[in-house]
């Protein structure tokens, strides 16, 4: 795509801003900031990736993946304000998932061990895991509040913290996986995923693009399941005081 063609895409932003002015949505400032930020961030990432792809430096690949995990964890942790140490728990969950996923993909030679494959796939799975963590924590808070009676009933009968919140954890993990499972069911029928569309536009064989998309969907399912389950194991004790009383969250 030429720079001139790219600049024409600003027309879509202008349309949105005009609609905002017409409907008095008062979103013009946010749209303008968002447009500038998106352009700068994506162009910067493009240059960074270009540099890393050329250098093929393992340390740089590791650094960029660590950065992705930290940003994802910080963002997901906003869903659990008030829960101490949740960022570290999310980092540990996502990092474990990343090591497992990449370990499998590389050791089974499903993808090539080059930055072109490792970085985009890591970015997508970490992003998906971030959404799963955010949904898990949101639902965990909601379920803990609405099931306070059940949890305290179990505690009063001598249950462990794990026994007392077993159902709450199960419901929260299930909830965090809904978008991934729904996407898997409707992919190709309702939506053509971004990665596949991008590959096709860039001139790749559609069948080859579909193969990669299938790979991504399967990895997503597994990554959201592993991350939420691990996060549930790491988080549940945080719902209680040391005297096994339900904390006010």
């Amino acid at each position: 795509m030429s720079l001139l063609a790219l600049s024409f895409t600003l027309l879509f932003v202008v349309i949105t801003m005009l609609l905002s002015v017409w409907q008095k949505l008062d979103l013009e400032k946010d749209i303008a900031i968002g447009t500038v930020r998106a352009a700068i961030q994506l162009l910067a990432v493009g240059y960074v990736l270009q540099f890393i792809f050329k250098s093929e430096n393992l340390l740089l690949i590791g650094l960029i993946i660590c950065l992705m995990i930290i940003v994802a964890a910080t963002n997901a942790a906003k869903r659990a304000q008030g829960m101490k140490g949740v960022v570290w728990r999310i980092i540990l969950s996502i990092a474990t998932m990343e090591i497992l996923m990449m370990g499998l993909l590389l050791s089974l030679q499903i993808i090539e061990a080059t930055p072109q494959y490792i970085i985009p796939l890591s970015g997508m799975t970490i992003g998906n895991a971030m959404v799963a963590c955010g949904l898990f924590l949101t639902q965990l808070k909601r379920e803990t509040e609405s099931s306070k009676g059940e949890i305290e009933t179990l505690l009063a009968l001598g249950a462990t913290s794990r026994q007392a919140v077993q159902d709450v954890l199960k419901q929260s993990v299930k909830f965090s996986m809904i978008p991934t499972i729904d996407a898997m069911k409707t992919v190709g029928l309702v939506q053509l995923p971004g990665m596949m569309t991008g590959m096709i536009i860039a001139g790749a064989d559609p069948v080859e693009a579909v193969r990669y998309q299938i790979l991504i969907i399967f990895v997503f399912t597994s990554s959201s399941a592993i991350t939420s389950m691990m996060l549930s194991v790491l988080c549940y004790k945080n719902l209680f005081t040391k005297d096994l009383q339900l904390k006010k969250w």
Partner: protein, 242 residues
């Protein structure tokens, strides 16, 4: 009778609101003892902290000051889970766990990895007037009174040494109320289980207790034998009923 549960200087604060400027505590300096096999009725107007006191004794809530001892050992030095199997709280609002009545009754054996005492469970269900109920029924579909009785049976299957009963017959009709009272009196005689029973029904307090604790203005204003409490013309009971 030996002291089973002792509380010393128990105090619970509450958050001050604009109207409640005279007192910063819900109750303060509560010192009392529950002996083995003792039946105590806990009386007092609403808002005196009776339920909170029971929850603190079951270690479901923290007191702000004071200590509790079970068989001479403080709560800090006792495993919370072990404590709760000895001192068991039955809530005012009976909560049914997801699943059937049978699954609810089996909760205790599942938690503690023990064999379910089917015979005892059936006897208890009969004693509370629920002998004909289908155990496969969803527990959340039961009426308030049925839930309350299933919750009581569920707790009794734990065979605790002290039962903390928070208005457990408040949602029951007269016949069911009497069934539950008889069950608990027989249970007390058979197992020497003590109970601390919150009630607003003075007649029930006379029937079921041998001792009265009366909470007023944030203190334990009376701790005496039931007969003395109700028969004394200058009794605080007159204040309750007037």
């Amino acid at each position: 009778m030996t002291a089973l549960l002792e509380m010393k200087g128990l105090t619970k604060n509450y958050w001050l609101t604009e109207k409640q400027t005279d007192r910063t505590y819900l109750f303060s300096d509560i010192t009392a003892t529950v002996k083995s096999g003792e039946r105590i009725a806990l009386l007092g107007k609403s808002g005196q902290g009776k339920s909170t006191l029971l929850r603190i004794l079951a270690l479901l809530e923290q007191s702000d000051r004071g200590e509790i001892r079970l068989n001479g050992v403080t709560s800090r030095h006792t495993d919370t889970r072990v404590w709760r199997t000895i001192v068991t709280y039955v809530a005012q609002q009976a909560t049914m766990l997801p699943g059937t009545i049978e699954e609810n009754l089996k909760t205790v054996s599942k938690i503690h990895n023990e064999t379910f005492d089917d015979k005892l469970a059936r006897k208890l269900m009969k004693d509370v007037g629920l002998e004909s109920i289908d155990w496969a029924k969803k527990a959340t579909d039961l009426s308030g009174g049925e839930k309350q009785r299933v919750a009581l049976v569920r707790s009794l299957l734990l065979k605790p040494s002290i039962l903390l009963l928070d208005e457990v017959t408040a949602s029951l009709d007269q016949q069911s109320k009497e069934s539950v009272e008889n069950l608990l009196l027989n249970w007390n005689a058979a197992y020497k289980t003590s109970f601390l029973w919150v009630t607003h029904d003075s007649e029930q307090a006379r029937r079921i207790s041998e001792r009265i604790w009366f909470m007023e203005k944030g203190t334990l204003a009376a701790d005496c034998e039931t007969e003395i409490f109700f028969n004394n013309p200058t009794s605080l009971f007159n204040e309750v009923t007037t």
